[in-house]
């Protein structure tokens, strides 16, 4: 009887907790809806920023629902032999590539291929080590911030400020630049206000990156029909076949043994069993697979919508729109701001940190990254930052609706890993010109082979990070088991 009363009390508490979470979820949703309504009634051109906002909201909800994280994909494969997330990521890549191919074929894609070079591998390697240390990739850290993880918020902060410092670092950093980069940067005849020979990152961009070529497989295959080029070149060759091949490798290396053990030795039926096992791996985590599917479709539609809005307003960049709306502060010397037109994470975070540093007196508009290319707009008017904020909001709503939101304060050890790993992720993202989304997910789905170079580096970095953590945790466990008879 006493136990039954306790159960009733617990149920009442649970229900109260659930109602409170639902109320909080609708409050967060209401906040974003109110921002949309208020801005749109002020000036209809805010629809451009709102498009980023609501796609960000969808990304946030989906990332949290499927716990979609590329750090988890690589780390869990090497650390605990779990392929669940790798499978989800590949499903996302395939779906995204199909939607993107259609958008490209009908001329509605905003995608621009990245320069092809070893910098993608090196940046990916540093980023990959960092994301294992922090426990989440760039997009994963945003959605985990929405779940109330303070360590994920520390990752976002350190990643943002590391980028902002790195792109403006001068002094001894400049000695890292080969003389060929200096000569090449000088030959570009950039405006003197940018001081292109002062700052390692400026020399890297103007003296090296701008000399590299960029292409997509649709362009390389020289197929004239836009539909065949987009679907066969970009989607099939650059995304679907490599993704399927990776899934076969994951099946053989990580999943097959466990699957055959559960099916029983006597029931092996050749290729039928293998195909069933392959399919079982793909459908093993429905939530992750569904998240991959939604993300893929949403990311493709996002490009389509942004291109449509650019056509509607007759612009190539959001800076033109902000300028026309009277918001000229923080635009680059080309009157532009960062505006990829698709799912992106790190550059807008660098801008936000750069803007804060600028307000504290940093002279950081005289470099290529902020001064020429991306600008330093007020975060309240930064279109792509609206997407990042909405990713956190969307994730918070989904976490609250599933009673998974909880303020989680990190231990000192976790906080140190978050900050240190975040710095590595920030440096890696700038060298590779993007993160797990902008330098991998978007390029591979759009026919750009540079995305696979980043993936190679990120996977190698993830492997090294796991090796280190295995040693670290083994060492700590050895202390814990002292005195236990095991």
């Amino acid at each position: 009887m006493q136990n039954a009363e306790v159960k009733v009390a617990e149920t009442f508490q649970t229900k109260t907790f659930e109602y409170r979470n639902q109320l909080r979820a609708f409050t967060v949703l209401g906040f974003f809806a109110a921002v949309s309504l208020w801005t749109l009634t002020t000036d209809i051109r805010y629809v451009y920023l709102n498009a980023y906002l609501w796609f960000g909201f969808i990304y946030g909800m989906t990332l949290q629902y499927g716990r979609f994280c590329m750090a988890s994909a690589i780390r869990d494969l090497f650390a605990v032999r779990v392929p669940r997330m790798s499978v989800g990521i590949m499903i996302g890549v395939v779906l995204f590539s199909l939607v993107s191919a259609y958008a490209t074929a009908v001329g509605k894609s905003t995608f621009h291929a990245s320069p092809l070079g070893i910098h993608s591998v090196i940046g990916g390697l540093i980023f990959g080590i960092g994301m294992v240390f922090t426990g989440g990739c760039a997009s994963g850290s945003l959605y985990k911030s929405g779940e109330g993880s303070v360590s994920a918020m520390l990752v976002v902060l350190s990643l943002s400020f590391a980028q902002a410092f790195f792109v403006d670092a001068g002094g001894w950093f400049d000695s890292l630049a080969p003389s060929a980069w200096i000569a090449s940067a000088l030959a570009k005849n950039l405006p003197a206000s940018l001081t292109p020979t002062d700052g390692w990152f400026d020399l890297f961009i103007a003296g090296h990156i701008w000399n590299l070529s960029s292409t997509t497989l649709a362009t390389l295959t020289r197929i004239s029909d836009p539909f065949v080029a987009a679907f066969a070149g970009n989607s099939l060759l650059n995304a679907i076949l490599p993704a399927m091949l990776l899934l076969v490798i994951i099946y053989i290396g990580w999943y097959r043994k466990g699957y055959l053990r559960t099916t029983g030795a006597g029931k092996y039926n050749g290729w039928r069993t293998e195909v069933a096992g392959y399919w079982s791996m793909i459908t093993a985590s429905k939530k992750t697979a569904i998240a991959g599917l939604i993300l893929g479709i949403a990311a493709g539609l996002h490009m389509w919508v942004m291109q449509g809005l650019q056509n509607r307003f007759g612009i190539f960049n959001a800076g033109e729109l902000l300028g026309a709306m009277g918001h000229t502060s923080g635009l680059s010397i080309q009157d532009t701001v960062f505006d990829p037109g698709y799912f992106y994470i790190t550059t807008q975070e660098a801008q936000a940190a750069g803007w804060v540093l600028h307000k504290f007196g940093a002279d950081n508009m005289h470099n290529i990254f902020f001064g020429l290319e991306n600008g330093l707009p007020n975060p309240i008017l930064n279109p792509v930052l609206w997407m990042s904020i909405a990713i956190v909001g969307g994730s918070a709503v989904m976490a609250l609706l599933h009673n998974e939101f909880k303020w989680k304060w990190p231990t000192l050890e976790i906080a140190v890993w978050a900050i240190f790993g975040g710095i590595l992720m920030g440096i890696g993202a700038r060298i590779a010109l993007g993160c797990n989304i902008g330098a991998f997910f978007v390029p591979v789905a759009n026919g750009d082979p540079s995305g696979w170079l980043f993936f190679l580096g990120m996977a190698a970095g993830g492997y090294l990070g796991v090796k280190f953590f295995n040693w670290w945790i083994e060492r700590k466990m050895a202390k814990e088991v002292t005195g236990l008879k095991l």
Binding site: E10, T14, F17, E18, R67, C69, A71, S72, R75, D76, A79, V80, R81, V82, R84, V132, G135, G136, K144, E147, S149, S151, A152, W254, Y255, G258, R261, T262, A284, S285, K287, N403, E404, K406, K408, W409, P410, T411, I414, V466, F469, N470, I473, E474, K476, M477, E480, V481, L484, K485, L486
Partner: protein, 84 residues
Amino acid sequence: MAVKFEKMSDGNYMLDVQGYVCPHPQLYTKKAMEKLKQGEILELVFDNPSSGESVIAMCQTDGNEIVEQIHQVGTAMHMRIRKT
């Protein structure tokens, strides 16, 4: 809060990784399971939701049995895993 790995009774151990985020909970669980003998049970206490799904998948891959899962809203998650 530091990691706690304690013997509760014969064949029953408790690993408390509250406050830890990925990949710590799943890596500590893997290491703890490696140290247990067949038939022994590990009670895992954690509060990082995404680690839970990785631990479940890890048990499926390694063939260990999840005897019980308790997730009462607003509290830490508990999972009892038997080494097979």
